[in-house]
């Protein structure tokens, strides 16, 4: 291990740096694809029993992180440990269950057969019926894999991740292919699973989804962790909402002084204020200037949020 990573740990890691007890530990992990830095000295540790969301735009390094976590991808530099073991050892010991993005199912196999097969590979699996019920597959148990809809396939993939009753569940954009109902059922069973002391790591590019289902969000962009905290903390860092309205010829001066406002952008006659407290911003705005035309309040776009975080991050680096 090099000196640089040792120095960085206390600054960037949240929670204890203890490779024997942490469920997940990344220390100074880097990965390059040719010239492209997919991962740049990433540090991350997850304690046992935590539910953590890995949030980031496409190409931020979420899938790379998950591939390394599962031992599918070797690291160029640094070390990944799961429960104090190498990813390969942890996977071989049946401590990890994974739901991968866009993983198809083998053809000509019935749902029940597939679930039975996968659970049979783990030392202490859940009972077949329990897996099927939890994943909402009881009615589909005898259906062949190639006769399932996209949402149903996602539920089977979830069932396969759950089947071995693993200590660590890794879910790469689990709800991407699910309909609303499947999503609700999915998060319900996730909460149940988390309550039994299991560690869960899931990736998403929806801030709302991350915020609603976990109290710790790790934001990755450009292959590094740029923010780590609760949903509220993340939102306040980036300015939670956008308040936009028509200026209708009124001056834009002073808008940045409104309560909660983090930044002001003008697009022609339209002003967009990013605000950490949109309620206060709107109330004061109306109080001072009257009701503006075409007022809209939106959740901060994640793209903007990442932009803000990335910019903040690079500024901090220079200090």
């Amino acid at each position: 291990m090099n000196k640089r990573t040792l120095e960085k740990e206390p600054v960037k890691l949240r929670g204890q740096i203890d490779r024997t007890t942490n469920a997940v530990s990344f220390v100074g992990v880097s990965k390059n694809y040719g010239e492209v830095k997919a991962m740049d000295s990433l540090d991350l540790s997850i304690e046992r029993g935590e539910t953590v969301a890995l949030l980031g735009p496409n190409g931020a390094g979420k899938s790379t992180t998950i591939s390394m976590l599962l031992g599918l991808l070797p690291t160029d530099e640094g070390e990944v440990r799961l429960f104090g073991e190498s990813p390969h050892e942890a996977v071989a010991a049946g401590r990890v269950g994974a739901m991968l993005q866009e993983a198809g199912l083998p053809s000509n196999v019935k749902v029940r057969e597939l679930v039975s097969f996968v659970r049979g590979l783990y030392p202490e699996p859940l009972p077949v019926e329990e897996i099927l019920t939890t994943a909402g597959l009881a009615d589909l148990a005898d259906r062949r894999s190639n006769k399932l809809s996209g949402g149903q396939t996602a539920r089977v993939r979830f069932a396969l991740a759950l089947a071995g009753d693993p200590d660590l569940l890794v879910l790469d954009e689990p709800t991407a292919a699910m309909d609303v109902e499947s999503r609700r059922a999915f998060w319900k069973s996730m909460r149940f699973h988390a309550a039994t002391g299991r560690t869960i790591l899931f990736s998403t590019h929806y801030l709302e989804e991350a915020d609603a289902n976990t109290d710790r969000i790790v934001v990755v962009a450009g292959g590094r962790v740029i923010a780590d905290g609760s949903g509220a903390e993340i939102k306040s860092t980036v300015g939670g909402r956008t308040v936009s309205f028509d200026l209708a010829g009124n001056p834009s001066e002073g808008l940045d002084l409104l309560p909660g406002v983090v930044s002001v952008e003008l697009h022609g006659d339209r002003a967009s204020l990013r605000s950490a407290d949109s309620d206060a911003t709107v109330v004061t705005l109306i109080g001072e200037r009257g009701t503006p035309r075409n007022l809209e309040v939106n959740g901060a776009g994640l793209e903007e949020a990442f932009l803000a975080l990335t910019t903040n991050n690079s500024t901090r680096e220079e200090n």
């Binding site: 071989a92 053809s107 000509n108 057969e113 590979l121 030392p123």
Partner: protein, 243 residues
């Protein structure tokens, strides 16, 4: 491993179109070649007919051994192999199960050619020879089945069919299936003897001539088998590296 083998065999049995192609294609080849073979003078029950039967059995078996390549590539492309890699199933067992699945497909093709040779040419062997022949050709297919598995894990769909074609055609031409290796120039003869094709067919030729298979045949087949098994395991372990 048994559970994985069961799953793979079940999938093969449930895909009638695949089975039809895997088993009937070689059979069709056999019928085409035998009609050519008869005209070039294989007389009833002759040694030539026995040699030809072995060549044909080897040829169709090799063909069948590669029939699972596309299925493996499909499993890989859709991400199922990557998912499998996140389970505790050891890579050696995955490859072993794939090997045995190929062998399940291969066996009926070998038996078919033997039955057809009895019907067409009245070839005669004693029961011990038949058993030895079928078992040796079945076990001897392992290096080819492992090569097919390796191709499935390492090649894209496009490159796989070219690699398979090149390997099978090249091997069969050099292997003495259609004309004896002794007709080749000396350098090529050496190459042919180092490759598994001629060695595989020679297992059968020795048996029908009333001899035991040679140590050289067994050694070279084993060496290729080990090499291809290693390649297949390596290939499996590389799946999922991209993305």
């Amino acid at each position: 491993m048994v559970t994985y083998l069961r799953l793979e065999v079940l999938r093969v049995l449930r895909a009638p179109r695949f089975l039809l192609l895997a088993v009937l294609m070689p059979v069709a080849f056999y019928l085409i070649f035998t009609s050519l073979g008869t005209s070039s003078g294989n007389s009833e029950g002759s040694a030539a007919a026995l040699t030809f039967m072995v060549s044909m059995a080897c040829y169709v078996a090799i063909f069948a051994a590669f029939s699972l390549v596309n299925g493996t590539i499909e499993d890989r492309t859709i991400g199922w192999v990557r998912q499998l890699r996140t389970t505790p199933l050891p890579s050696v067992q995955v490859v072993a199960a794939k090997l045995l699945t190929s062998m399940v497909v291969v066996l009926p093709t070998i038996v078919f050619v033997c039955l057809a040779a009895v019907a067409d040419y009245g070839v005669q062997l004693d029961a011990g020879q038949w058993a030895a022949l079928i078992i040796l050709l079945w076990v001897g297919i392992m290096p080819f089945a492992l090569l097919g598995t390796a191709i499935g894990y390492l090649c894209t769909a496009q490159s796989a069919s070219m690699v398979t074609m090149a390997v099978v055609l090249g091997g069969v031409l050099l292997g003495g299936f259609w004309f004896p290796v002794s007709l080749l120039p000396e350098t090529l003869q050496n190459v042919a003897h180092a490759l598994p094709f001629n060695r595989y067919a020679d297992l059968g030729w020795q048996v029908v001539a009333g001899h035991a298979p040679t140590t050289a045949d067994a050694t070279i087949l084993l060496a290729w088998g080990v090499a291809f098994a290693a390649l297949a395991v390596l290939g499996y372990r590389r799946v999922g590296r991209s993305a």
